[in-house]
């Protein structure tokens, strides 16, 4: 059946498209993305590609067909071979029509079969999505249906197995139902305030357990309740998720399902206010044991059922992405550290100092302030280990007490346009990073405190050509020391851009008496490149050094190995 369907959809699309013109029998659209890297050996960063393929290439061709209310599509993927670090367990080799769908969808009713992307609420209970940079694609292969009753009740259901890699799905079955009620339409109150309530249930079944425990949780069921209210200016959202007992999986000494079961829960609340020129937003989240996978032992970014992103500011300067927080939902219980969840929050303030004032100048000055802090939970129970193996576990977490601090970031960014020629951004960040728990930083562990200063200036020569110069410095009390970075970029709109950048870990001095080679200290991570854009096609080429570490997009990370070499990317939409 699978094979037939796989062959049928592309055949149909090609058949239809060759027979007719776009307007008469529907539209075809699509995209193509290709990233190819060549890797060189580089002693300074420990990159060695002697006995492996020096090329990696990830390619995606997506085609979509639409006629009236019928939608169909497929995604062909080729990893020839996959980029290093993209594929930790080697399952992304080769090429395949890796996903496809066929759907009949109208405003009030729709059904879809094939690979499905969806989320319930904010995704805290269920989200299937794709992020090619991170190498995540947990689409549910199965069916989805939605129906809307008089704009009051919206119900949707998803049933299937999650995509595990290029050709396989996981063994666990995921099924979910979500309902959302529009309270305004229900009560016929149509004021400025809009109210919605929602509820979902998601169940995962994974058989295959053959151990001695009678009530082993093959089914794990999560339910959620959510509420949101807004008048466009004030807004409030809250969501609670409860998750039934799930087997705890140890990572050390090997990945293994244990006899310990824990139930999980999460509470997320968000409150904000805004008016023209000012906005404030505050988020709180507490969660424990929210690692939810459709196969118990799945690791990394494989077979994730729910979405628990790091709720911190996603910075866009290079030095601000060295000590990056990752939400603590993949739990570690060890003698030294018992990570069972996290509690914390963040506040954002955006303000534009009005035009025509002393500080606002001719164009207004834009200020963004963000502060976030995340801590572990306080466990009143106990954990007992024998030879580093968990033998007794009693988790009884305090509701609101803050445990060990994991992360803090307080930052401010000020943007000012001075006149038609000059623009500038300055930013300052103060960070706290618990590298022992989070393990994302370059040093060997411990708490790292950082301060980062950024200045970013753009000068417009003409309407279309501009030079941007950016300087950054990071003071870090880590064993690897301080960093400096600079970028120079020249753009000629709307087509051309060239840049050169360097990140210099000058504080990482060679300790006296060290036998390590000199060139492994005070490393320059240089990069230079160009891009050319025409319409919706973009080509970019760059050459440089990639630091080993976490590459994070949207709060989900993957480990990238150190590498030096050429990168070519092509993106097009049609």
């Amino acid at each position: 059946m699978n094979l037939k369907l796989k062959q049928l959809i592309p055949a149909c699309i090609l058949g239809i498209s060759t027979l007719t013109t776009a307007q008469e029998l529907g539209n075809i659209s699509g995209s193509f993305e290709s990233t190819t890297q060549h890797y060189n050996n580089d002693d300074a960063i420990g990159a060695n590609f002697d006995n492996v393929d020096k090329w990696g290439s990830n390619n995606y061709l997506k085609l979509d067909y639409n006629y009236d209310n019928i939608y169909a599509g497929l995604q062909y993927e080729a990893y020839v071979p996959a980029l290093y670090g993209f594929d930790p367990d080697g399952s992304f080799e080769g090429e395949a029509v890796a996903s496809y769908y066929l759907a009949y969808e109208k405003e009030k009713f729709g059904v879809r079969g094939g690979f499905i992307y969806d989320q319930f609420g904010s995704g805290l209970i269920f989200r299937s999505w794709e992020d090619r940079q991170i190498g995540i694609n947990n689409a549910v292969k199965g069916v989805r249906a939605y129906i809307n009753f008089d704009d009051i009740l919206n119900v949707k259901t998803v049933y299937g197995r999650q995509r595990k890699n290029l050709k396989e799905t996981g063994t666990g079955v995921v099924r979910g139902v979500d309902a959302e009620v529009n309270l305004n339409n229900l009560t016929k109150l149509n004021g400025k305030w809009k109210f919605n309530v929602g509820a979902s249930v998601v169940d995962r079944y994974e058989g295959g357990y053959s151990g001695p425990i009678e009530d082993f949780p093959s089914n794990v069921t999560a339910y959620s309740l959510r509420f949101n209210a807004t008048n466009g200016s004030i807004y409030f959202d809250a969501e609670y998720v409860g998750k039934s007992k799930d087997a705890y999986v140890t990572l050390e000494p090997q990945i293994e399902v244990t006899d310990f079961f824990f139930d999980g829960n999460a509470f997320l609340a968000n409150l904000g206010y805004s008016r023209k020129g000012f906005g404030i937003n505050a988020t709180f989240r507490r969660m424990q044991f929210m690692n939810f996978r459709s196969e118990r032992i799945a690791q990394n970014n494989s077979l994730i059922v729910n979405y628990v992103p790091a709720l911190t500011k996603q910075h866009d300067y290079s030095l601000t992405n060295i000590y990056v927080y990752a939400a603590q939902s993949n739990f570690i219980l060890s003698k030294k550290h018992a990570v069972t969840g996290e509690i914390g929050g963040q506040i954002d303030i955006y303000y534009t100092i009005p035009k025509g004032t002393f500080l606002g100048g001719k164009y207004g000055t834009k200020i963004a302030i963000n502060a976030s802090q995340w801590n572990g939970l306080v466990n009143n129970g106990f954990l007992r280990f024998e030879d580093n193996k968990l033998v007794e576990a009693d988790v009884d977490n305090e509701l609101l007490k803050l445990g060990e601090r994991y992360f803090q970031d307080i930052n401010i960014e000020i943007y000012k346009k001075w006149n038609r020629k000059w623009k500038s951004t300055v930013a300052f960040l103060n960070g706290y990073y618990n590298n022992t728990v989070l393990k994302g930083g370059p040093g060997s562990g411990g708490v790292v405190k950082t301060q980062i200063a950024v200045a970013d200036v753009t000068y417009n020569f003409t309407r279309r050509s501009a030079l941007r110069v950016e300087g950054q410095h990071m003071w870090a009390d880590d064993s690897t020391g301080d960093w400096a970075a600079a970028t120079v970029e020249y753009t000629f709109a709307p087509k051309w851009s060239i840049y050169a950048a360097d990140m210099y870990n000058y504080g990482n001095k060679k300790p006296e008496g060290s036998n390590e080679p000199d060139n492994q200290f005070q490393v320059h991570y240089y990069n230079f490149g160009m891009s050319y854009t025409k319409g919706s096609t973009r080509f970019a080429a760059s050459y440089g050094r990639q630091r080993a570490g976490l590459l994070c997009v949207g709060g989900v990370c993957r480990v990238v190995p150190a590498s030096t070499g050429l990168t070519l990317t092509l993106n097009t939409t049609f």
């Binding site: 193509f32 992307y117 995704g123 794709e130 937003n281 534009t352 279309r464």
Partner: protein, 161 residues
Amino acid sequence: MKKIILFAFFIAFTSYMSAQNSLPQISLKNLKGETVDIKSLEKDGLVMINFWATWCGPCVKELNALSEEYDEIVEDTKVKIVAVSIDDARTAPRVNAFVNGKGWPFDVLLDSNSDLKRAMNVGNVPHVFIIKNGKIVYSHSGYTEGAEYELIEKLEELSKS
């Protein structure tokens, strides 16, 4: 090599086929909590859809630049500008504060699981589509300093034709 030829063939072939595209059947929430059916934008004469995210520097630059010229653009071309945020649950809660804090005048829609982004085959943000009488007539990806002038010229040209 065969694969590459196949890709090239597909691209050439499909770009020929899809000269004009309509908008997909997707509903998104706006910042007032109302549901907006994307297809309903086809009724507006000239529409510009800008995909962006709070964490995307070039996107914010593009929308800052367009917001500075907004009054003149709208007066001259009668375009409706819709900024579709692809911020997911990580950053979506701050979109309202962000947009108002920057004083942006655009209609903003929340595409928090990238449904519209996927349906319109957007690779990276920023990505702009211009829609006239329900058909996509222009698209552009990326932003470099000053690229807004090309968009404005395009809108002026389309508003006259």
